[in-house]
Each structure stands twice: as structure tokens, then as C-alpha cells.
């Protein structure tokens, strides 16, 4: 007690002191409107365009030749495409979680990261959404999976989780987009008002859909935003639950498991926050946003990663335990194969990435060490990709009939498609950073207001957080 009193834990504020409405607005809108395009941005967009070129080549070749260009086979009929799909979808969870759930839970630290987390969600979902399409043997018939008015009265087969996927992912993408866009409107109006260039004024003006900032606008806006948050909240849980059904509904050992929905959702949040950190840390440094994205944000995200990482670790443990407890020879073999089979490297790497590494986050010193957090986030991103690799590949490669066991070797096109979507993601992200306010201006102004109020009432920042009023 005394030591705690002697060394009170440093609680970083969610907004560095000294900011006014104007300084906040200036700083954020300047990135879009007045700052000279930084050299690193130009270079990065160049690189991401090149990767995008790789992606286009891979996709065009895929359309010409067929999915045979990938390493998939019988028994491993799903390869990188599905691994990447699940990985990207998982990443896409953080944005909505931050925007919606943390909004409803009145976590004001979400304010400075929600905008680009949402953008990240959108872009990740775009990347994810491409894979189920690209992996189709006959992509030109993709619409069979939707309930379109077919003259022969054929509908999708509703028992298949893939159909649920279509609805889950498209709903999620739609709601996420709306949520993001609605949140952008007041800021777009700000940009419109501040823009000097006529084109910018017109474009931002159109996008701002006539926002004038009247009280009625604000009233309706807040209601809509809250409703959308309420709508998006269950989606955070449902999307990855449905994605996990793709596997859980199957009979294959390693797939056929009831733990999958919660474990997938936790994993998704885990990887989502890892990706937010992966993006936030460099952006913060490059644009000098240390005042807005403070250590407090990074630390909180570290905590969420730790928590969800533990759930994921629980998932791994239960899977193995259940394999043993079930006394099912196929499940037992599956587990042993993960430990000792030809893909054992991936399993042990997974444990190192997803279970061992996040334990460092128990230590405040590491949580508040930005480079360490960045490295941990990257490792977790890798680990979560490996998790999906293990679920898809190692479950399929040795299932029931030893005669049909096989190996999966990704081809250059598998890698090109995967890396290509990273290029696409970066490309979109860079455009977003350059042309839209990456941090919500008006919400930051609210935050300034609250902070000032709190300060004027004589509270210090640390204790004020818990009492912050509804935004």
C-alpha cells in the first residue's frame, strides 16, 4: 500500500493537456488539407501500388487458369484463400468493436482510434470478402449462392454455413460502412468548410450531405449513431461465429467443435487489436499524433489483447483436452498430428506467437513500451494467421482415411494473392489517411470540452476518466 502510494501508477490521459477546439481541428484537418503530402506517403503508396499489381496479376491468372494455380488439392481443398479470408475477417473485428461496443460501454479512450479502426475494418472486410469469391471453381456463377429470383425456383441451400457466411459478411460490411460513413459526416462538413481548393470543397461538400451542424442535426446524428452502434454490436459477435460455423459444422476432426464460436470471436478481437496497434503506432509517429493517440490507448489495447489472447489460449487448451477426453481416435490423432506431424512447426509457432508472447503484456513496462507493443502486435498478427492455417490445413491434411492423406504446399500464386491483399489493404489505408480525417475531429473536440470541464472542476485527468459524461 505504501509502495503504491509512493509510486502511484502513471495513468496516461486520453488526450494530452493543452489542446483547444481549434488546435485539435487544425491538427487533424491539416493532414488532409494543408500539409504537404509527406514523402513517405508517396513512397508507400508507390510500393502498395506495386503489390496491388502483383495482386491483379495473380487474380487475372487465376481467372484464366482456374484455382488449380494454387496449392490446394484433395484432401486439402481449402488453402490460403480461406486462411486469408478468416484472418482478414478477424482483423475486421476491431473497428466495429471499438466503435460500437466501446461506445456503448462509454469508453472515451476509443475516440481517437475509432475512425481509422473502422476504416481498417472496412478495408480488411474488403480483402476478406474477395477470397470466398476468388476461391470458387466457377467464380462467374457466384450469384448462385444468393437468393436471386431464379426461373427454376432454385434457392441457396440454407443448411450450408457458406450461405450464412454470405449474409453475415455482407451485413457486417454494410453496417460497418454505414457506421463509418455516418461518423464521418460532421468531419466531412468541417473539411468542406476549411478546404481552399474548389474540387475539395465540392467533393467534401457532396460527401457531407448538407451537414450544417444545427442542433437538430446533432440530435438526429447522435440517435442514428447510437442505433447503428446497437446494430453493429451483435454483428461483432455474429460474423465470426458464423465464420466459425464453416468449420464447426464439418465432420472433420479439428473442425467439429463447439468451442469454435467464442474462440473465433475472441481470436478475431485479438487479431483486430493487434492490427490496430500495428497501424496506430506508425501513424502516430509519422503524423506526430502523440497527443491524440496516447500511451493510454496503446496500453488499453494491449490489455484487450492480453484478455482475448487468454481466451484464445483457453480455446487451444480445451481443444486438446476434449480430444483426449472424448477418447475419439481421430480427434486424438488430430491433436498429436498438430504437435508432431509435418506441420508441427506451425503449431509450436502458434503457441509461441499467440500464447507465450502476449503474456509479456502482463507487465506494465512492456505495455507502455511502444516498440515492444508494435513487435508483439506483429507477432500476434502472424500467430493468428497461423491459427487459421492450422485449422484449415492441418485438420484437412490427415483426416479419417489414411489413404487420402496429403500435404499442402502453397504456390507462388497463393503467396501473391495473400501478399497482394496486404498491398490492397495498405493502398486503401494510405488513401484514407491522405484524404479523410483519420481521427474524428468533432469527437476530439468533445473530448477537449470534457477534459477542460474536468480540469476546471479541479479533478486530475487520471480519476476523471471514470466519471466522464456521455458524449
Amino acid at each position: 500500500m505504501s509502495t503504491a502510494a509512493a509510486n502511484p501508477p502513471v495513468v496516461h490521459p486520453v488526450l494530452a493537456p493543452g489542446h483547444t477546439y481549434r488546435s485539435v481541428t487544425d491538427k487533424i484537418s491539416a493532414v488532409v488539407l494543408t500539409q504537404k503530402t509527406p514523402a513517405w506517403w508517396t513512397m508507400s503508396i508507390g510500393i502498395s501500388c506495386m503489390i496491388l499489381g502483383v495482386f491483379s496479376t495473380a487474380v487475372i491468372w487465376l481467372l484464366i487458369r482456374g484455382v488449380g494455380i494454387w496449392g490446394i488439392n484433395i484432401p486439402i481443398a481449402w488453402g490460403f484463400a480461406i486462411v486469408n479470408f478468416v484472418w482478414w475477417i478477424g482483423i475486421g473485428h476491431a473497428g466495429t468493436l471499438i466503435s460500437a461496443i466501446l461506445l456503448l460501454l462509454r469508453q472515451d479512450w476509443r475516440t481517437s482510434i475509432n475512425r481509422f479502426a473502422e476504416a481498417m475494418t472496412l478495408f480488411a472486410v474488403s480483402c476478406a470478402g474477395m477470397f470466398p469469391l476468388l476461391h470458387l471453381g466457377r467464380i462467374w456463377k457466384f450469384y448462385y449462392i444468393t437468393p436471386y429470383p431464379d426461373t427454376m425456383g432454385l434457392w441457396p441451400q440454407w443448411r450450408s454455413p457458406l450461405v450464412w457466411d454470405v449474409f453475415a459478411v455482407s451485413t457486417y460490411a454494410t453496417v460497418s460502412f454505414l457506421f463509418w460513413y455516418v461518423g464521418l459526416i460532421p468531419d466531412l462538413a468541417t473539411l468542406r468548410d476549411r478546404a481552399k481548393h474548389v474540387v475539395a470543397r465540392v467533393v467534401y461538400g457532396i460527401l457531407a450531405v448538407g451537414w450544417r451542424g444545427s442542433a437538430r442535426h446533432w440530435h438526429r446524428y447522435q440517435m442514428a449513431y447510437l442505433l447503428l452502434a446497437g446494430l453493429a454490436t451483435p454483428l461483432v459477435v455474429s460474423v465470426h461465429t458464423v465464420v466459425s460455423f464453416d468449420f464447426a459444422v464439418g465432420v472433420i476432426p479439428g473442425w467439429h467443435s463447439t468451442i469454435f464460436p467464442p474462440y473465433f470471436v475472441a481470436g478475431a478481437i485479438f487479431s483486430g487489436f493487434a492490427m490496430v496497434l500495428t497501424l496506430a503506432i506508425p501513424i502516430r509517429a509519422l503524423y506526430g499524433l502523440h497527443d491524440f493517440i496516447t500511451l493510454r490507448h496503446l496500453e488499453n489495447m494491449g490489455k484487450i489483447m492480453l484478455a482475448t489472447g487468454l481466451i484464445v489460449a483457453y480455446g487451444y487448451t480445451v481443444e486438446t483436452f476434449m480430444a483426449w477426453y472424448s477418447d475419439n481416435k481421430y480427434e486424438i490423432y488430430m491433436s498429436l498430428n498438430r504437435f508432431t506431424g509435418p506441420y508441427r512447426w506451425s503449431y509450436w509457432a502458434l503457441l509461441a506467437c499467440n500464447i507465450a508472447t502476449p503474456q509479456l503484456l502482463w507487465f506494465r513496462r512492456i505495455r507502455s513500451n511502444v516498440p515492444a507493443l508494435f513487435v508483439i502486435a506483429l507477432i500476434v498478427n502472424t500467430g493468428m494467421w497461423l491459427e487459421r492455417f492450422i485449422i484449415v490445413i492441418t485438420s484437412l491434411h490427415r483426416d479419417f482415411m489414411p489413404s487420402s492423406w496429403g500435404m499442402y504446399y502453397p504456390t507462388i500464386w497463393d503467396w501473391a494473392t495473400f501478399i497482394g491483399t496486404i498491398g490492397l489493404f495498405l493502398f486503401l489505408m494510405l488513401l484514407f489517411l491522405r484524404f479523410l480525417p483519420m481521427i474524428s475531429i468533432f469527437e476530439m473536440r468533445e473530448l477537449v470540452h470534457q477534459t477542460n470541464e474536468r480540469n476546471s472542476r479541479g479533478h486530475n485527468g487520471a480519476s476523471a476518466v471514470k466519471e466522464s459524461p456521455v458524449t
Partner: protein, 1115 residues
Amino acid sequence: MSESGKHKHKCPAASGRRPEATTKPTLLQDTGGDGQANGFAVTSATAGLTTSGRRYWRSLEELAASKEFQEIVEREFPAAASEWKDDKDGVSRRNFLRVMGASMALAGIGGMTGCSRPPDAKIAPYVNPPESVVPGNPQYYASAMPLGGYGRGVLVESHTGRPVKIEGNPQHPASLGASDIFMQASLLGLYDPDRSQTIEEYGQTGTLDRFLHAFDQFVRRLGKTGTTPGQIASNDDLRRLGRSNVRLRVLTETTTSPTLLNQLQVRLPAVFPKVRWHHYDPIGRDNAREGAKLAFGRDVNVVYGFDKAQRILSLDSNFLADHRAGVRYAADYIARRRLPRQASPDLTMVQAADHTSAWQSRLYVVESTPSITGTMADHRLALRHRQIEGLARILAARLGVAVPPAPGVLGDVDPAWLDALVEDLRTAPKGASLIVAGEYQPPVVHAIAHSLNTALGNAGTTVFYTDALEGNDNAGDVESLRSLLDDMDSGQVDALIILGGNPAYTAPADLEFTRRLLAFSNAASGVQKKFFSVHWSAYNDETSCNCQWHLNATHYLEEWGDVRSFDGAASIIQPLIAPLYDGKSSIELLEALAGNAHGNGYELVRDYWRNTWGVGDFETRWQASLERGVIDRSAAATFQPSLTANPAAWTATPGTAPDVNSLDLVLRPDPTIWDGQFANNGWLQELPKPHNRITWDNPILINPRTAAALGLRNDDVVSLTLGANQVMGAVFLMPGQPEYCLTATLGYGRTRAGRVGNKTDLSGGFDAYRLRTGASPWFVPGIKIQKTNARYRLASVQTQQLMEGRDLVRHGTSLSEFADPQPTKEPPELGANQDPRKFPLTLYPPVKYDGYKWGMTIDQTSCIGCNACVTACQSENNIPVVGKDQVLRERIMHWLRIDTYYSGPASLGDMADAEVYFQPVNCMQCENAPCELVCPVGATVHSSEGLNDMTYNRCIGTRYCSNNCPYKVRRFNFYQYSDQTTATYKLMHNPEVTVRSRGVMEKCTYCVQRIDRARIDAKRLLSSAAQAATAQEKAELETQARAAIGALSTACQQACPTEAIVFGDLNDAQSHAHELKYQGPFKDLDYGLLTELNTNPRTTYLPRLKNPNPRIKGT
């Protein structure tokens, strides 16, 4: 000097020279009309007339790029043509132009060229369709497929004049309605676009008339040498003289064709008194022939009765895969192995009997390399090739045949094992045992088998003798070939006709056939044209390019002919289609050489049989023979040859002394591409070889322990050296292979097989013929092996061959093992007494199948792993070939596969004596199909008859169904695998089955197209029955309807020689499938794969039952 005098030809590269598949699917023979094909612009032709004489001709020919023209001229003006054709330069410009002008005019008029040829016979004149032909309904014709000279009866399914499927002929003794991989795959051989499509002279396109003219010219020139100089003789005189002078040699493969033999032995000698017939077959029966001569003093043909034998010993004989009678032998052998039917009086015996059950015969196999016969054995002994003769000698001595003992000792053989074997053979009822010697073993082993069979009283009960069927001169193939080559070297041969085969590739390396043939052919192409060499074959292959002429052969589905089966029964080969590439049959060719240029195969075969049958109604008998597919009363008479030799004089064959230090190589015909003649057959190349399941290559098989001693792993490239010959191949560690004994199969390493079969960097294996010697064709003692650093990937379709303790192939030695529920084998809640078929574990009400309910049972006791079903399925269902690259990527398309598992010690090194189990796996047609649940578009759905149907045009290719299939029987078109552009393949495809496109999942359908046809037939009959006038008529029609369903069989079932696959209506208590699943002694044995997943499969399995000798330990 003319240019043609300088022909020194070498084989051009295998590719690039072959004309593109000119696909004129001549359902009806084209009667002339060649004018168009031969037409060329007169202007371009005359533009070349700038120099003199012969140069003109060459230039013209080059301009027109066609030798056809030459032939047209020749055909129209033979006398004038000879003027410029002769090897002299002095054709005057005037003469030449006169000839040219006239013939050009003729050539330009379409159809005129046809007037000099007799109209070809139409074999299926569809102008007035026969009454029996209903469009859409297939027709079936009986014929016979020759392989290695012996015929197996086939029934060919023909759709509007196109043969699309081959089945065994139930009336033929060698097939009994079943088939093997070669019969099934011969269909692809017919439509192979790489088949030779033209006649060639030194690689230039020619015509048959041109060839015959050249031959005639050659003969006449020889006639000229017989006349005094200055004497003027007519062409006829010259021809007559020449024919009597020409030292003609005909080299054939083994043949039993009565018509062809008659031509070789009677017709040709009558025309060419100096003709001599040689024969060489890479997979002949030299050892058996010599063995018979040792034992009986004469060559005999041996026919075995496996259905009558209780104790069988095979000395390195792979009789279940014998190319003459393997199909029949498999049926006979399994007839005494499978569980007796319920109705059988043996049933009580079955239930009472245990290890020494009388209903099951017992098979001992001693072999030097794993074979499917060894796999089916109750006791298999892997022994080095060189030791088997020694073992045979010991057996002979102990069973009362006094042969000199083997030198040295048999180190590896357990004496107790040998005692038990001797005792078992001795105590078997007289005449109920059988000893079979393999062709690969030296003659002495054959002779010992003959004398043992005689001693045990088997002759006449389990082994039968007939006269040899090959009509040979009693000489061995190698001997015959060697004498031919010696004569060629010493100028004793004027003209060489190689009738089929590919001796340049298949001849033993030490005979140096290619070099000597090339020397002969190059001399043949000299100015004087002293010699003449011709190769008639289906492919323009290694031999063709070393001969002066190549003539394209017909496929057996394109020709009239005849052939005998293993027991002498003769069949007429009738064509199903006019020659696709205008080939000539061997019979027609010989007739043409004998002077009748337009001899018609149909007439020639009929003439032979008319003369043979003599009196009586020829037409009736001919028709009956065609319809039945076999000529009645034509089987050879059996007799009892007497042992003439003194076994004491049978000394040891060289190279059989035990020698632990040397490494031996045994050579075998390849299980799928045979001697190499099927190298260009994609179905057979991609057919997994038994046991190792390798495709597209021939591995060097090696015992795992020997491999460890030599530091070899799978896919390591080694060089094998014998004398000056060296080959490089990849090794494969093979459980069941004897130590220090390698095995390589023949037929690979082809250079001119075609686009599919040619050796490439990726596939095609190595040429094991380079290690073959004439003296010891099957066994190479003391081979040198050298490891290289290279690696070569072998494409095995099954990399995991251990069952991992899973209950997949159930096996046992007595029924009592299966009588009790085995809780250890299945989860308790799904034990044998709680069959999910009776207690469906589902929340939904059980689905009623009111109409038909299709199901299948596969008897693993009967399955010999011969792969016939796999090829039949491929043929029936238009299953594409994917190539080695795709096989390596684990994308093979077979809907039905033969899983092969080893049981026994877990380590490969200890698996020399591993038990092997074959398990055919097709779609299980689960009633609770996991695949159906997950398909997002309903492309795979359940039918009202319980089939798990695929709707190809609904499939979008998510592949989820395959992932969720526990049996992994679904196959995906990762690329556009089906060839939808090659015209001949379009002809080949079964019109009743969709040709799948890229991105579509496919799988076994239980041959739903056959089910539909049978159901439609039954429905039609039943609706007629409903309107029948009398009760009797009604009952008759209903019986017919039942029979239509009862006769229904899937392609795999129909092909299976051992009836291991039984398919039928499970709602019909009379059906065989129902019986196996729910009745008699079978119902407790019948089990489903992975039923604990509650898939409730419609395909179920009967266990593998063995009958081991209780006196032998470890059984």
C-alpha cells in the same frame, strides 16, 4: 546421282513431326473423293519446272508438299509413272510434261481419282438404318481383344457407330463377362490422336499403293537378277521370278490368329517360296516353352483350373495378372475363396469350419517381387529370384521327384514353413492341389512344376494340357530373333516385314537390334535398294523410324481378324468402326504383299473359316460365331502328355546359386503399361500400380532394409549398370520386396511413344530393356547400383499406407472372429448390434425409400486389386487424365480408387512380409451425407432412391463438400482437365455422361446413367404389364421388368473379374446386394466405413477372410 540415294536417316525428335490429329470421324468409309486433299494449284506446280529431269519432280513435290500427287500419277499411268520413278535421271522434259499435264487434269477433277479404286465396303450403312437401331440406345457387338497374341472376348458398347465402352464377353472363356485394365483402356488406344495416321517412307507421307508399288518394283528387280542380261522379260515374268527369289522375312509378335497363321504358314510360302517367319515377343513364353520341352519333350499349352484346386503353390507366378487368362483365373481362384452363398450346402460347413475350412482354398506364393497374386496368398514368401529354383528343387525332392538338389543352402527359408507347405500339398486330396510356375522362372522350375503336378495327380483335374496355340516353329522368341538378325547381318535377307511389335525398343539389349536394323535399313535405302524393310504398327515408334517404310496399323476395333484364347477357343474379331486413320490390318497387309492389293479383311477371315469348317451351313455358323463372340467347339482338345525326361538330368540354371553378396535385379512387365505398348495410354499411365500406387513411372523397387544398407531413400536416383549398359531410375522402398533383390518394370523410357508416353524430365521412367539379355530376360544377377545425388519425384497417389490402428479393412481367418460384437472396433453406442442402418441417429424422421434403394457391397476377400474397376469407371464416366504434375499435387480424378494398406510392424524396415490389403473406395452414397449438408447451392443432393447425386451445372466449386467428405472420394476439376477439343476424344466420350468443366466437383454416381436406363426399361415394361391382356402376359412382363433391374450393374461391378463388387436394389430381398448386407452368414460380417460418424453409407464392405495353415506360426 539422285538425292534419294543418300538417305541416311536417323530418328527425328519424337515430337514435332507428327501431323496434327486429322480427325475425319469416318463412321462410314470414304469412297474416294481424295481429289480435294490432293489438289494443289497447277500454277505453283509448273512454276517449278525450271531445271531438267528428276530435279523437276523433286521441286514439284516440294512445291506441292505432297507425295500424294506422285501416287495419283502412278495410279493413273502406271507405265508412264515407272518411267520417271525408276532410279535413273533420264526422263525427258517432253515425256514428263505429258504425264504431268494429263494427270494434273485428272487430279484436278474431284472424284476422278476414286475411279481406279474398288469401292470400299461399308460396314454399317446407315442410309437405311437397321430396324434394331434406336437412336440413343447403345448396341453391343462381340469381338475379342488380342494381347500378347491371346484373345479375351469383349462386348463393345457402340453409340451411333462409335465404340464408347468395352466390357468382357460373358460367353468367352477368357473373360467370362469381366475385363481387365488393358481391355478397358484399349478404347482410349483406338481414339489416341497420336496413333500413326499415315504411311511413311523415310518420314515422308506415302500411300499404301505407293508402298505396294515399291515392293513390287523391289521384287521385280530381284527377278531381273535372275534373268540373263539383255533378256527382255515382261513385268509378270519378273515378278514371278522375283517372288521365287526374294528372301522375305516376316517378324511378328506372338500370334494365335488362325487366319494370320494360315497366311504365314501357307499363303505366303506359296507366293514367296523363300519366306521365313520369325517371332519375338518381349513378354512371351520362352521359359514355359523350354520347360515343357524339358518335361514332355514338346511344347504344350497349359490351362489351370483354379476353381478345382484346394492347395495352390505359385512359384513366382502372377497368375491373377496373366495377360492370357488372368481375368478367368481370378474368377476361378476367387470362386473358391469367397464366402459361399446362403443357398449353398456349404453353409453349415462355413459356420462350423475354422482354420482348415474346406470351402476356401489355400494359396502359397513364393515370389521375388510383390504381385497381386502374392497379396492374395494365405502364405507369401518373399524370396530372391535366384533362390526360387532351389526351393522348387527341395519341394520336388520331398514330394517324390528326384531332381538334383540346389547348390548351397536356402538361408532365409524357415524349415517349419517348408515342412508345413510340403505336408499340406502331400495331404491334399489327390488331384486337388496345383503348382504353378511363373514365366519369369527358368525352364527347370516349369519342368519341376509339370512333374510335381503329375506326381500329385493334378494333371487332368486342376491342370490341363493342350497343343501349343502359337503355331510356332517350337523355337524360342529370342532364338528366333537372333537368327533373323544374324541373317540380316550376313546379307541373307532381302526384305524384312516387321508385323507389329516394337523390337527396336523391346529386343534384349545384347542383341543390338536397333543398330543392326538401322544398318539393314540404310543399306535398303541405298542406290541399289538391295534390301527392303517395313514396320507395320499402330504407332510410328522406335522401330518405325529405323525402317524404310512405316505402315499404320488398324486397331483391333477397326479390323476383321481372329484370335484364340488361352484354352484355344477362337473368336472372330469384328470391327466396330471404319479405320479412323485408314490403316490396314495385318491380314490385309500380308494379302497385299502376296499380290492381292485389295484383299479385304472381312473376306479373308471368312475365306479361312469357310475352308476350315468345310461342309455345313457356313453363314449360320459365321453369324452365330459373331453373335456369341466365340466359335463353338473351337477350344483345343486337352490331353495328357507323358513325362519323357529324366529329372535327374535337370541341372542348375546358371545364376541361381545363392550369393548373399550380389545384388540382383528382376524385370517384370509393367502392371499398367505392360511391355510399353500402352505407354501412350493416359488411362493406364495414370492408373496407380498395385501396392506402391505409383503413376507415370517405373520405380526401382528395393527392400527397405537393403535400401537403408545402401543409404537410399525414396526418390533417390541410382544408376544400374550391366556391362556397357546403364540406366538411371528412382528407387522406391517397397515392403514385401526380398532383400538384395531389386525390381524394375519394362515399358518405360520411351522416346517415340507419343505425347503421353514419351520420356520427359518429369515423367516416363527409364528403359529397363537396356538391362535385358537374351539369355536371361527376366533376371539380371549381379547388377551394379550406384547412388547419384539426383532426386526424381515419383508420383504415388497414396503416401500413407498404414491404417494407423483404424478399423478400415477388417480381416480375419475365421468367421467366429466376426460373430461377436467387437466393442473395441466401434464406439459402444454403435457396436455391431446397433447398426445405424437399423437405429438411425438423427432428429429427423427416417427417410422412406419406397421405390428402389440402391446399395453396394464390396467383398474384400474377393478383391484382388487388379484395377479393372478403376479403368472401367474412367471409361464409363469420362474421367479425365490429369498428368503426373497434377498427380504429384494430389489431384488425381479417379472416382474409384483401390486403397492399399500394409499391416504388421509399424516400421517400414520390418515389412518384408507385411500383409497387404486392398480396399476399393468409391462414393459411399451416405444416407446422411456430410457433403450435402454443406453445399451452399444444392449441387449435391439426395435422390429419392438414396443416391447422392451431383448436379454439375449447379456446382460453383466451393469444394466444401470434399473437405467434409470423410472418405475423400470427391474429385475436383482444378483445371480444365477434360479434353474438349481433340475431336477423337469427343467421339470416345460416353454420350450419357456429362463431360465436366473446370471448377466443378465430381464423384462416383453408382453409374446413375445405367440406373436410369434400367429404370426406364423397367417402367416401360411395367406400364405395358398394367395394360396386358392376360394375366400370364402381365406376369411375364413383370418378370422382365424385374430382370431389367436385376441385370443392372455398375461399370466397376461389370468389369470386376471376381464379383467383388455387388450392386443392387436393397428394397428387393432377392437381390444379391440385399443378400450380402442383410442375410445369411454375411450380415454379421458386413460393415460400413466410418459408420461412427453416422453417415450411414450405402456402400458397405465384407471383411478379408484368409485361410492360413494352422501349422505355420504367426497366423
